[in-house]
Symmetry: C2
Subunit: 253 residues, 2 copies
C-alpha cells in the first residue's frame, strides 16, 4: 500500500474535488467517509475506487483493495484535508455514483422532494423512506445535493440502498406518474386534514415541500390531494423531516 | 436607551454567563435570541429582563421596555459576543426561566426523554409534542439542557409554551405516574410492533430513549409496554426525533 504525504498529490487533489457538486458530476464519483458507510456502500454494490486510510485502518483498506480499489495510507492531516467532517474517522474513499432510477421504472411508493434545502432533512427523509418501505425518491430542483456528505451522513446508508431520480421539472414528472396510475399527495399548509384524506391506493407519490415556502404552485396544481397534519397544540408547523416521517409511516401502515 | 460599547460592561458579562447551564441556573434566566422568539416568549408570559439591540431593532427593544425590561443599544460585535448563533439577528435578551411543571400536576399526555443528548432532537421533539397535542415533557438525566440556545432554537417557541419537568430519577417518576393511572409506553428496539400495542387510554407517557443506547434498563422495567416501529425496508433505525414524531401523532389521532 503506497503512502501519500503531500496535499499536492493528484490522488488527494482528485478526492478534494469531490467536495462540490460540479466535481462529483465531472468525476462520476462521490466521497464516502468512515468504516460503517464504506461497508454499507460495498454491501449495496457500489464500486469503491481510491481509498485513503490511517495506519489503523489498513485492514479495511486491504479488504477494499481486494474488491478492486486502490488504497493509500495517509497522515491524519490529509484525511482532514479531504473529508467533510471535522474529525474524520480514519478512512474515506471515492465511490462510483449510484445509478439514478429512471422515471419509466418508478416504484409503487415514492417520496418526492420539492425544494427541500436542508441537507439534514433530505438525508433524514431518505432514511425514513427506506425504513417505512418506500421504493425511491424524486429529487426536484432546489433540493440539497443528494450526494453531498451531509445528506449522505443523515441518510445513514439509505442513500446507497434506496434509489433516487433527479428531476429538473417535478410538476411534469408528477403529471407523468399521475397519467400512469400514481396518486399524488402533497403536504401543504392549505391542505385538508391528513387523517381524512381518501386512501391513495397502492401506487402513490408523497410530495414534501421546502422548509421555508412549502410546495410550489405548479406542484400544487399537479397534486390529487393536498394534506396537512393537524396542529392540536400551540405549534404552527413541524420540522419537514418529522412531518414527512409521520405521513410516510401513516401511508404505509 | 443607553449604548454599551465595551465587552467588559457588567450587563454583557451577565448575558455571556447565560451560555452555560451553571450560569443559567445561578441567574434564573436564559438567553432568547431574535425577534420571533422574543415575541413568542412575551406571548407565553415570560418576563424579559436585559435587552441588547442593534439600531434597527430599537422599536422592538422599546416595546420590551414597556413590559418592564431594560434595553441597551450595542454594536454587532457585542451581539456576536453574547449570542450562540454565528450571525445573530439583531436583538437578544435575558428572560426569566419558565416555571417547571411539578409532577403532582402532570398533564394527561406526556413525552419523557431518557437521555436524549442531541439538542436538535430534544428541541424538535418538544416542537412536535406541542403540535401533536401533548401536555408536557419529562426530562430525565443525561438529556441535552432544555434551556440551551440550540434546544430552544429547534423547539421554535414550543419551549416557552409546553411545560417540562426535570426529573433526576426518571424510572421513579414513571413508577409514580403509573401508580396514579398513567400508562407507560417506551420505544425500545426489543419492543413489540408499535401498531399492535394495546390502546394506552387517555393518560399515558411515551418514553423516548437516547440516540446511541435507547432506554435504560431501569426505564425498561418501569414501562407497561415496549414498542418498536416496523422497519419495512433496509434501514435499521430511525432518527430519534422522527420516531418520536411518528409515535406521538399516531397516539393522539
Amino acid at each position: 500500500m503506497d503512502h501519500i504525504t503531500s496535499a499536492k498529490n493528484p490522488i488527494i487533489k482528485a478526492l478534494r474535488a469531490l467536495r462540490d457538486h460540479k466535481g462529483r458530476a465531472a468525476a462520476g464519483r462521490f466521497l464516502v467517509e468512515g468504516e460503517v458507510m464504506l461497508r454499507e456502500a460495498r454491501k449495496c454494490g457500489l464500486a469503491v475506487r481510491d481509498v485513503l486510510a490511517e495506519e489503523n485502518f489498513t485492514d479495511l483498506a486491504g479488504e477494499l483493495e481486494a474488491t478492486g480499489a486502490r488504497a493509500y495510507t495517509v497522515p491524519r492531516s490529509l484525511l482532514e484535508a479531504v473529508c467533510d467532517t471535522r474529525t474524520p474517522q480514519g478512512i474515506c474513499a471515492s465511490v462510483d455514483l449510484p445509478e439514478p432510477l429512471p422515471l419509466s421504472n418508478a416504484p409503487a411508493k415514492i417520496v418526492a422532494l420539492d425544494g427541500v434545502q436542508d441537507p439534514g432533512n433530505v438525508g433524514t427523509i431518505w432514511r425514513t423512506a427506506d425504513a417505512a418501505g418506500f421504493g425511491g425518491l424524486l429529487m426536484g430542483a432546489g433540493c440539497a445535493d443528494p450526494l453531498s456528505p451531509k445528506v449522505q451522513r443523515s441518510a445513514m446508508g439509505s442513500g446507497f440502498r434506496l434509489p433516487y431520480t433527479p428531476v429538473g421539472d417535478l410538476p411534469a414528472a408528477l403529471a407523468e406518474l399521475k397519467a400512469r396510475g400514481w396518486s399524488v399527495i402533497a403536504s401543504d399548509l392549505r391542505g385538508d386534514d391528513f387523517y381524512s384524506h381518501p386512501d391513495p391506493g397502492g401506487k402513490f407519490v408523497l410530495v414534501i415541500g421546502s422548509e421555508a415556502h412549502g410546495i410550489s404552485d405548479a406542484t400544487r396544481a399537479a397534486a390529487d390531494m393536498l394534506v396537512k397534519l393537524p396542529m392540536r397544540g400551540g405549534a404552527e408547523s413541524l420540522n419537514a423531516a418529522v412531518a414527512a416521517g409521520i405521513m410516510m409511516y401513516a401511508l404505509t401502515r
